[in-house]
Symmetry: C2
Subunit: 404 residues, 2 copies
DNA sequence: AGCATAAGTTCAATGGGTCAACAAATGCCG
DNA sequence: CGGCATTTGTTGACCCATTGAACTTATGCT
């Protein structure tokens, strides 16, 4: 379960010193361990990185002392020779925390260095009626309690990633129309809780973090399409999220799929969101949005019951999705689409049509057809992805955590 | 005129050695010189990079010895103190060559380290009737002659970038339907010419190289939209071309703008290319494509004459462009659109409508409106962009050219 | 002429990776 | 059961790039 393979290189624009060599090679060695399925030896690290065994040993020694690696049982060599000492990411040392503030729940996830979930808590409840202050106070309490539990188990939390369902400006102000938030400084509000204030906080869009949660060693580049009332996308390229010049990339919901379609709140006509968003599909299916329940539930039930209007609405949504996603794939040249959010639950009815339409559209489908699959992570994926992004940062900049 | 600011960092996945420090810092120092408007002193390099004056001096010495830099006149300091020795990119030493094979011409451009054109030659003529072998033989001769001239002026050509109007697979095989080429190994054919064989050849799509030619110090991220018979785009992010996972990114021509539109040769309906490509616009304007002449010429003439049908056709094309480009901007979050190819000539009629429609569509237009402008480089931009990309590579990896 | 100031150079010190030799730990084979 | 091949991991001398501080050089200002 390696997290993101962020660039373990010296920052462009910064001078390279001796210490930079160390930093780079530490991250390199660590990545060999995190990318390998099982335990790895010092000699294997040397082989995989191109460093000498001497250097690999030195680096490993530092990572062991810093609590990022642990020695495991001996590895039985295939032939003869001295058996190797196994090395693995330390499961009990450092961890990452993800805090998700969403429309109808709050969630917190803590993962260890291997990306495994060690703690998860969800607080259901519609947040729309409550003021940002009240919501964020509850979220901070949730994070603080998770933090205390993690500390109790000996886990050091290296950072906290906050996920919100909206646009983030300047890394601070959140505009989340679905929550009725227009310029809420989420991090400042969270920091009012003293035990959260001590944390290294960062914030990102919920779809972005959900996309991050789908990164695996095998699948490193894909388009993550999250469908709820709004439609958003996370673009993941070689394990790192593509953010665009201002951090607003991935607004798939406002790609046009029908120039003569219904008007969208953004001002344009026929945006994907107003054609294939949950609200539109629910209405097209002839269902009334169940009060308090997420739209996806009613839709899924109707589809499972084989309701004709619902199946037709889903078919139409899949076609619209194919139009928008096809355009995105032509622009971005990624080979895989991951359906998240409510689309994941609706995948059985969306994937066949979507897959077929994409196959028909894509220029290069005769060489390499697109792969469409539902998200592997279920609900609350954003808090997992956020937590993993903390760990990914730790793994790519280990020197920051190796206090001498 | 700095060329692309490619990452001057140690390759990810590669071990960092002492030599890597040197390489990184050499590129860093060189970039300070290339990014600065005028001559720079050693002390300024030290200040800008964070290196010590001692190190900056050492690096500059190497770059001088390698012929990448030259000393210029003394710089008058603002206060008193010892005057600094000016340093600038050596204009006469190294250069890059771009060779463009296009539908109705062949072009070659040679630039020096500063990105200035020192030599350009264009061979007009429709290449569609001729076999790839004949075309590429002529192209190789053109390159060889330019190379000889450049050598005669003392310029060492560091590499050659070939631009073709089609998809490139595996860095070798070119599929260019407009030329009637389906799997032509362009580089192998060019190498049959002995004086070209010695060059370090690379190959890319013509639109990509044209996009590269628009990169300046001020404009480092944009969507370059090239309209001819086909429509393609080059996505430039912080000075480097975004290529996607397989190198096919930027196929804007096959983004759908009208699900009920005419069928495209790719199989889908309503692709931008069949709605706003030159052929479609020409037909919509009621013009017959002038035999042998590029479509854009007839259109431009009719538009200048104020022909009503033509103006209406261009207006419709601009709307279609807005639909497709709007989607791309929402996905990629870049702020500027550069119109290239025939669209550059048609810009006076396209930009107003396109700009207004984008303003209406874009989610964030109230914060930051999109900028739309025609390409600064005219025809044969691809050969310029290719030549510049060679120089950009040289500047980002200077150690490869500093023979000890 | 003398002084302040800034540019550029010199050189010992620091620190990180390499290289080669060596020690340690196992399987294999006689 | 003992020697041998084989592979792992460690040690120390060496190399090399950057640092930092002292020093030299070249100019303007008073």
């Amino acid at each position: 379960m390696p997290a993101s393979r962020s660039a373990t290189s010296l920052g462009p624009g910064l001078p390279a010193r001796q210490q930079s060599l160390r930093d780079h090679n530490l991250a390199l060695a660590l990545r060999v361990v995190s990318d390998a399925g099982g335990p790895v030896s010092r000699a294997q690290i040397a082989g995989a990185t191109g460093l000498t065994r001497a250097t690999a040993s030195t680096l490993v020694e530092l990572l062991l002392a810093g609590g990022l690696l642990t020695e495991t049982a001996l590895l039985t060599a295939p032939g003869s020779g001295r058996p190797a000492v196994g090395l693995a990411l330390a499961p009990g040392g450092f961890g990452g925390l993800g805090l998700e503030v969403n429309v109808d729940y709050l969630a917190v996830t803590v993962v260890d260095l291997t990306g495994e979930v060690v703690l998860r808590e969800v607080l259901d409840g519609d947040q729309r009626g409550r003021s940002p202050d009240v919501v964020l106070k509850a979220a901070a309490r949730l994070a603080a309690s998770a933090l205390a539990t993690a500390h109790g188990r000996g886990l050091r939390v290296a950072g906290t990633a906050v996920s919100v369902p909206g646009l983030v400006r300047d890394g601070r102000h959140v505009r989340a129309p679905n929550l009725g938030w227009y310029a809420v400084d989420v991090l400042a509000a969270l920091r009012r809780n003293p035990s959260v204030a001590a944390l290294d906080l960062s914030i990102d869009n919920e779809a972005n973090d959900a996309a991050r949660s789908e990164v695996t060693a095998e699948l490193r580049s894909f388009l993550f399409v999250s469908g709820e009332i709004g439609v958003g996308a996370g673009i993941v390229l070689d394990g790192v999220l593509f953010r665009g010049t201002r951090g607003w990339a991935g607004e798939l919901g406002h790609v046009s799929v029908d120039p003569a379609g219904p008007r969208c709140r953004c001002g344009a006509q026929g945006c994907l969101e107003v054609v294939a968003g949950l609200e539109a599909v629910t209405r097209a299916a002839g269902l009334t949005p169940t009060q308090g329940l997420p739209h996806g539930v009613a839709l899924t039930a109707a589809a499972e019951a084989g309701d004709g209007a619902t199946l037709a609405a889903l078919e139409a949504a899949a076609r619209a999705l194919a139009t928008a996603i096809g355009g995105a794939l032509h622009l971005l040249d990624v080979g895989t689409v991951v359906l998240g959010g409510a689309y994941a639950r609706l995948a059985p009815w969306l994937v066949p049509t979507l897959s077929r339409c994409l196959q028909e559209r894509l220029l290069w489908s005769s060489w390499e057809g697109p792969i469409v699959r539902p998200a592997a992570q279920g609900a609350e994926a954003a808090s997992l992805g956020g937590a993993r992004s903390v760990v990914a940062r730790l793994l790519s900049e280990p020197e920051r955590w190796l206090v001498t």
